[in-house]
């Protein structure tokens, strides 16, 4: 880890609420410290150089998905990006594309994800309506539980959406995040929905048949979710639903 070098940050600045404000890139310099992450650097810049700088962090530990932004061209989580990763010490920060811009590096992923959940009904629709919470629970195959958790690790950071060319071209495309969640509920034996039900939601150009398989989602997903595999799986299922 290099110590004592000066980092140069090129940061996108724009306040859409400020009349007359124009998007611009602003350069900041900062002395690097051991173990510095983009989270630490941005906080130092805000505290000492520009108190108006907008960005989002919550857990700062790679768990909550708040801090996704485009770092030197790649969308990723800023909290666990070490500045030492960049040998030239030059770091360009842009907000995630594909989401409403709040200001500077802050985008409204929450609004997007809630709307997506409402549109695709991304919640368990149990086949047992009234479970008696006082009685023994219904068993589930341990392998199924493990597999569900594997697909459920998505943190709704929005990286897959911003790394997706189809999504950038067609706003109504559900993106990898939508399909991953559909796949998760499709797999869940507790969910009453059938393949046909899911077909009505994603068996179209906005869903599995719109995906161009460019794999930006899979390549950039900070949770290493198997997007490609799930999209292929859903395509097979949806194609099967037609017969």
């Amino acid at each position: 880890m290099s110590q004592g070098r000066t980092l140069t940050f090129n940061i996108f600045r724009y306040d859409p609420q400020e009349p007359g404000d124009k998007p611009k890139m602003v350069k900041y310099q900062l002395e690097e410290a051991p173990g510095m992450t983009v989270f630490i650097a941005l906080n130092m810049l805000r505290e000492h150089q520009d108190t108006s700088l907008q960005f989002d962090f919550v857990c700062r530990a790679g768990i909550c998905g708040s801090c996704a932004m485009v770092i030197n061209g790649f969308p990723t989580l800023a909290c666990r990006t070490l500045t030492s990763k960049y040998p030239k010490g030059e770091i360009t920060l842009m907000p995630l594309p594909g989401f409403e811009l709040i200001g500077d590096l802050s985008v409204n992923t929450g609004k997007f994800m809630r709307e997506l959940a409402e549109r695709l009904k991304l919640w368990l629709q149990p086949n047992l309506d009234d479970v008696d919470v006082h009685r023994l629970e219904a068993p589930m195959a341990p392998e199924e539980a493990a597999k569900l958790y594997e697909l459920e690790r998505c943190v709704e950071c929005g990286v897959c959406v911003s790394a997706c060319a189809t999504k950038q071209m067609r706003d109504s495309f559900v993106g990898a995040v939508g399909m991953m969640k559909i796949a998760r509920f499709e797999l869940d034996s507790r969910d009453e929905r059938t393949v046909e039900d899911f077909y009505h939601v994603i068996g179209n150009q906005d869903g599995v048949f719109g995906c161009m398989t460019l794999l930006g989602c899979q390549d950039n997903c900070p949770k290493d979710l198997p997007h490609m595999q799930q999209i292929a799986y859903l395509r097979r299922k949806m194609a099967g639903a037609l017969v």
Binding site: D15, T51, S52, G62, G65, L82, L122, L124, R135
Partner: protein
């Protein structure tokens, strides 16, 4: 002034808040949730290890029940908790786990037959019953006699939060995101809602409601290094405090978690030790058995944290640029276990330390982790001073944790507390009318508006960021794991000086919308008051109980301190909170104060303890041998939960021919510790 009316207003969209909102909405009440961030980003997501519920499905949990969970919780609390609440909680925890299953949580399940586990650094084979196959699994956690912690790998909080938020979305509960509550609207007797600010547009709104539930989590971020998300700043507690009427409970009870990574303070779950991980010093020596031969790494969190600190003070820490640390060794669990059951830990180690925990030791040290204190509530979750003000989860002092919380009991508290208190909140909304006094609402909105005007336009020069840093340093240095009179006095004096300086805050960025500096300024003033309740409470409490460890008063003093600290701030210009105390009545306890099982038994007994023990013996002998454990429990300390939750919990052992392996109190400690 924009007014928004609702029946049930919930501030905070983590597990506890969402669970209360769901309970309101299911009762047909109009419900609105306010949140700083999207609900799924709440700090609940960070809980890794699991939630305690005495399902007793696994062989290591067989024989577990509400009684044992209750006893563990009370002992864990160092007898500081409300035993009624601990009972309500232990009774409802299995119900909450089972309910969550139907909302989508993919709990890790039991696989029948033999499996290898690591217990006390040795590989042991245990055999799960055929009948348990596919039921919800449990892992071991500190301070519990049975393996009771239900989990989904090490992403339990994540999967619970997602399931509960999905449920809330399915019920069409609106979450007003990026909105911060800045003041309660109240008339000194009843709470009528909040004044909140949209953090995007800067708009001030008055939310008027029948009930207002604060579920904003803990106040860990008043400390310099904390495992908490950066939004856990104690603003919910501050809102209650600033009413001048509502009281906070046990604010000095602050838990340090033994194993946060160095330097950034990100948590590695207690599941690491529960699953068999060890603590080692600079010589690679496993030191916990030297201090706690019985429970070793799985002693209560406060105990392990103190032992680690003691060991570091003996010079056994590993030197680093960030000060000394110790090692957490999970290599003995094997790669497969680490990559499946502890994968979040693995990711954290890779991203922040550049190490592979399946082959490298993890640098750890105790770090601020949990706030046992919070807004004081009664058993129904309502604040005794302000009618209509409820609080739940880490924000509250409902008081099932007393002075030390057991691992796995916080995630459980969020959903169990939410389940129970949610029903009481709904009852309150149905029994009360909406009282709308726009003049009152306007006066509170004006007050916040003036505060913002003063910050943006006033002549102040102090930087909110600088004040914040100083507060964090003071709390870390003087109100930490080990405390003493002189340092606590120093903390109080220095915090008071900061609070004075906070009257002179000035902003460089003059925007009224989306202005992070303004957000910081509004918070730091409130956080300083919260910090003072912690420091003053700690300075006044001249004993050691749970996580509150006074070097100058090392004994737990039940004679003088078997009580709850209450802090309030009646004079808004004062520099100190007012403290008073609420006694815990030994004569009403199901489990009178006793030896907690760690170190030497040096507690100063309460005069009623003997009396209560004799009374208990008498009650039990009068009941006779035919009485079952429910009858015995009811005779000692009857408790109530809402009717729908009163039913008994069914367990696997009820359906098996063989008897439950244990009757509470009949096992030896040694056996239980396995």
């Amino acid at each position: 002034m924009k007014l928004i009316y609702t029946d049930s207003l919930v501030v905070g969209a983590g597990l506890a808040g969402l669970r209360v909102a769901i309970a309101s909405k299911e009762r047909g009440l109009d419900t609105v949730v306010l949140s700083l961030i999207p609900a799924k980003r709440s700090h609940s997501a960070a809980a890794q290890g699991g939630m305690q519920a005495s399902l007793g499905n696994t062989v290591k949990g067989m024989g577990d029940d509400e009684d044992i969970h209750f006893q563990d919780t009370v002992k864990g609390s160092d007898w500081g908790c409300d035993q009624d609440v601990a009972r309500m909680f232990a009774h409802c925890a299995p119900k909450a786990v089972r309910e969550l299953t139907n909302w989508g949580v993919p709990w890790t399940r039991v696989t029948k037959g033999p499996r290898q586990v690591v217990v006390n650094a040795e590989k042991v084979t245990i055999e799960e019953a055929e009948e348990a196959h596919g039921l919800i699994n449990a892992r071991d956690f500190g301070g519990t006699k049975k393996w009771r912690t239900c989990y989904t790998a090490d992403g339990t909080g994540h999967s619970l939060l997602y399931a509960v938020d999905n449920k809330a979305i399915s019920l069409d509960i609106p979450v007003h995101e990026r909105v911060e509550a800045l003041s309660l609207i109240h008339d000194g007797k009843r709470c009528h809602g909040v004044v909140a600010r949209c953090m995007i547009t800067g708009e001030l709104r008055a939310y008027i409601a029948k009930s207002t539930t604060i579920a904003t989590g803990g106040y860990g971020r008043i400390y310099e290094v904390s495992t908490n998300a950066i939004i856990c700043e104690g603003i919910g507690q501050a809102l209650a405090l600033e009413t001048g009427v509502a009281k906070l409970g046990n604010m000095e009870a602050v838990q340090f978690h033994p194993t946060a990574i160095v330097p950034v303070g990100i948590l590695t779950t207690e599941g690491c030790r529960g699953d068999g991980g060890l603590l080692r010093d600079k010589d690679g020596h496993r030191f916990m058995p030297d201090y706690e031969p019985e429970k070793k790494e799985l002693a209560s969190r406060d105990v392990v944290s103190r032992r680690m600190t003691e060991h570091i003070r003996k010079g056994k820490g590993v030197d680093s640029p960030y000060g000394p640390h110790l090692w957490l060794d999970i290599t003995l669990l094997g790669r497969k276990h680490v990559e499946t059951n502890l994968r979040e830990v693995k990711e954290i180690c890779e991203s922040f330390l550049g190490i592979d925990p399946a082959k490298d030791w993890i640098p750890v040290r105790p770090t601020q982790h949990y706030s046992m204190g919070g807004i004081r509530t009664d058993k129904t979750g309502q604040n005794p001073q302000l009618k209509g003000l409820f609080s739940v989860g880490e924000a509250a002092c409902w008081d099932m944790h007393g002075f030390n919380r057991l691992g796995g009991n916080s995630l459980a508290e969020t959903v169990v507390g939410g389940m129970i208190i949610g029903k009481y909140v709904a009852d309150f909304c149905q029994e009360n009318t909406l009282e709308i006094n726009t003049g009152l609402a306007e006066s509170f909105v004006d007050k916040v508006r003036n505060e913002i005007d003063e910050l943006v336009e006033g002549p102040g020069t102090e930087s909110p960021f600088a004040l914040r840093k100083e507060m964090e340093r003071i709390m870390m240095n003087y109100v930490g794991i080990f405390r003493n009179g002189p340092e606590l006095e120093k903390a109080v004096t220095e915090l008071q000086a900061l609070l004075k300086r906070a009257k002179n805050l000035g902003l460089k960025c003059k925007k009224r919308h989306a202005n992070p500096e303004l957000v910081e300024a509004l918070r730091v003033k409130r956080m300083l008051k919260v910090a003072l309740t912690v420091a003053c409470g700690a300075a006044a409490r001249t004993e050691s109980r749970g996580a509150h460890a006074r070097e100058d008063f090392p004994q737990r003093n039940d004679k003088d301190w078997l009580n709850r600290t209450l802090s309030s701030w009646p004079d808004e210009n004062a520099l100190t909170p007012e403290l008073d105390y609420e006694e815990l009545d030994v004569m009403k306890m199901e489990l009178p104060p006793g030896y907690r099982g760690y170190g030497i038994n040096n507690a100063i007994a309460h005069p009623d303890t003997d009396k209560r023990e004799k009374e208990i013996t008498k009650i039990l002998s009068e009941l006779g041998d035919d009485a079952d454990r429910y009858q015995r429990q009811q005779a000692l300390m009857p408790f109530e939960v809402p009717e729908a939750l009163m039913a008994r919990n069914e367990r696997l052992c009820d359906n098996l021919d063989r008897p439950a392996s244990a009757v509470p109190g009949e096992e030896s400690e040694g056996e239980q510790a396995l």
